[in-house]
């Protein structure tokens, strides 16, 4: 085995990992604000990719206009999902929430299939596809776009959660919803915000990954699950731990696919997921929490 090869796998793993990280943070934001694991998270990734294609190809909007439009529409979809499905739930038990978000995810996926068909489509890369050589390995400009945009989004995220009133209110909800409500924070509004932010982030992830992986109505399933895996590695944190989790997962998966077997590539993420849930459900970096009854 050569060093070049390993470097190559690691580099491409990093950019897939950045995508997982973005999706994983989306999971964490909703989980922290509401205690819900949103099984429909992956569908917003799909919506980002498919809508960009839709605006670009069918409505002939240029790429710099198509992307914001796609993000905007996906965000509205996230908002509607919260208002129409999550909020009116009469018995919000964990099982009901699991079932309703699964139902929502199937419905969104089905509607996408109805609107855009079952075909896989390619999206043009943002700036050419001339490979760039880095120490024996090569990467595509799109990989750099992915890494760059991920860093920017994480920075914005950090700023929002630590330096704005609404971000701080959201963190308060994550610590203790009841107490947050008592000091005058509108908890339901924060729940809505969390859905808006994470659907927007999901859409961005879908848009930047689309030129590499192609887009289809069912692309969100696997991406969503792996994003969740990243969030679990990061202990459901909406910060750096989940980013590390995503990158770790991306690199491990890419190395596993390259060096062991590509057929079992998808299984790697789920084996890691199961092992972590069994052995360290608090995440790779977290301290165990005592359970309150």
């Amino acid at each position: 085995m050569q060093f070049d090869q390993v470097l190559q796998y690691a580099l491409s793993g990093l950019s897939t990992g950045a995508i997982y990280a973005l999706i994983g943070i989306g999971f964490s934001i909703i989980y922290n604000a509401t205690g819900i694991i949103n099984f429909a998270q992956g569908e917003f990734v799909m919506l980002g990719g498919m809508l960009t294609l839709f605006f670009l190809e069918l409505l002939k909007v240029p790429i710099w206009g198509a992307i914001p439009c796609a993000i905007a529409v996906s965000t509205v979809a996230g908002l509607l999902f919260e208002r129409l499905a999550i909020r009116p739930l009469r018995q919000p038990t964990p099982i009901n929430l699991v079932i309703i978000t699964i139902g929502g995810s199937i419905l969104i996926r089905g509607l996408a299939m109805l609107l855009w068909g079952k075909d896989t489509h390619a999206l043009p890369p943002f700036s050419g596809d001339e490979p760039i050589a880095i120490g024996g390995a090569t990467i595509l400009p799109q990989h750099l776009w992915i890494l760059g945009i991920t860093i920017v989004i994480i920075a914005i995220n950090k700023f929002y959660f630590y330096h704005t009133i609404s971000g701080k209110a959201m963190r308060a909800c994550a610590y203790n919803r009841r107490a947050a409500g008592l000091v005058g924070i509108d908890v339901r509004r924060m729940v809505l915000f969390s859905f808006i932010i994470s659907s927007a982030m999901g859409a961005v992830a879908g848009i930047i990954v689309a030129p590499l992986t192609m887009v289809a109505y069912d692309m969100g399933v696997m991406l969503g699950l792996k994003g969740f895996c990243a969030a679990i590695i990061g202990g459901m944190s909406s910060g750096i731990a989940t980013v590390v989790g995503g990158l770790l997962l991306g690199v491990l998966e890419s190395l596993g696919a390259g060096l062991i077997s590509s057929g079992y590539k998808d299984a790697i993420a789920f084996i890691i997921l199961l092992l972590l849930l069994f052995l360290r459900p608090q995440g790779l970096f977290g301290k165990p929490e005592s359970e309150r009854v």
């Binding site: 989980y31 819900i36 694991i37 099984f39 499905a85 009116p88 739930l89 009469r90 018995q91 964990p94 099982i95 009901n96 929430l97 699991v98 079932i99 309703i100 699964i102 139902g103 929502g104 995810s105 199937i106 419905l107 969104i108 996926r109 089905g110 509607l111 299939m113 109805l114 079952k118 399933v221 699950l225 969740f228 679990i232 077997s261 057929g263 079992y264 998808d266 299984a267 789920f270 084996i271 997921l273 199961l274 849930l277 069994f278 459900p281 009854v293």
Partner: protein, 319 residues
């Protein structure tokens, strides 16, 4: 208890007389699937409705049963009646062993973990091409036979499958009214309270998980021997969700509800032939509507709706 028995007898009689109404025909084949799906949704309901533990990986156990039976009979020439219990026991042991770590998880985490388990099993079906035939499937699985009687027609398969399904119904009904059933309901309502009164909730959850997997495996074996061909596509995540939909539509914890859900979801696509690709949208919408407006399922929701309507009418009369 006597009423319970009468209800079951009526149900069994209805099942037995069904083929007379259809006299062969294409619908018989669909009714065989209703039987298999009823068995599966009862198995899932034992876990979800009785014990309150979700699983999104049951298609995996169903598939394991089908593949173990299929491979042992088609590739190794085993007797199907031997392969079937062996598959069930193997799947049961597997579920028992994995049940300890997996059922320590709760709610959303349990859902994700079982989902991951199901997908791993699905990937193994696809990748172990030498054993399973991979994505193109495994064919040449023999029908079941007793002496000279081969279960090779739809009507024969109907009685075979429904024989097993009725036994499953009886088992589940018995379980519900037993000490174990009451303990399970206690775990469902409050695990802590159940433990306080001396229910070994951890072991109980693992046991019911294994029992549920065993029934799923049996259903899988029956599926393999009636279809004589299996491929991984039947055992993916979508099917796990379909099973969940059946249980939720029928009503959590209700055995006849499971039958209702399974029958509805198996027959619906047959009547919606034109909308073939879009049944997945209907599942999604059904799941959401049921959880939002009828969280008790059809079995409890419809009578409640009926009572409300009566009251409404009665109110109008008084006014």
């Amino acid at each position: 208890m006597k009423k319970e028995l009468l209800k079951f007898a009526a149900f069994a009689l209805l099942v037995m007389l069904m083929p007379l109404a259809f006299k062969g025909g294409y619908l018989m084949n669909v009714l065989v699937f209703v039987g298999i799906n009823t068995m599966l949704s009862i198995a899932l309901n034992l876990l979800l409705g009785y014990a309150g533990q979700i699983s999104l990986g049951h298609a995996g156990f169903f598939g394991l049963g089908a593949y173990l039976s299929g491979i042992l009979t088609a590739s190794y020439g085993w007797n199907a009646w031997l392969a079937m219990p062996l598959a069930a026991v193997t799947v049961g042991i597997l579920a028992y062993l994995i049940g300890f770590p997996i059922l320590k998880l709760k709610g959303h985490y349990l859902a994700m973990a079982t989902l991951g388990l199901g997908i791993i099993i699905y990937i193994v079906f696809n990748e172990t091409v030498d054993l399973t035939g991979g994505p193109s499937g495994l064919s040449g699985i023999p029908n079941l036979a007793i002496g000279g009687l081969r279960f090779d027609s739809d009507v024969k398969n109907y009685y075979l499958v429904w024989g097993f399904t009725l036994a499953t119904v009886l088992f589940a009904l018995n379980l519900a009214n037993s000490r174990v059933g009451r303990a399970l309901r206690a775990v469902h309502d409050s695990e802590v309270a159940a433990r306080v009164v001396g229910v070994n909730s951890r072991l109980l959850k693992v046991q019911i998980f294994a029992v549920s997997a065993i029934f799923s495996s049996l259903a899988g074996s029956l599926y393999a021997h009636t279809m004589t061909f299996i491929s991984p596509a039947s055992f993916g995540f979508n099917f796990s969700v379909e099973l969940l939909t059946m249980v939720v539509i029928g009503g959590l914890g209700s055995i006849y509800g499971s039958f209702l859900g399974a029958a509805l979801l198996t027959l619906l696509p047959e009547f919606l032939r034109a909308a073939h690709d879009y049944d997945i949208i209907i599942y999604g919408a059904l799941l959401m509507v049921m959880v939002m407006f009828m969280p008790g399922g059809l079995v409890r929701g419809v009578p409640e709706l009926y009572r409300k309507l009566i009251k409404l009418k009665g109110g109008a009369d008084h006014a």
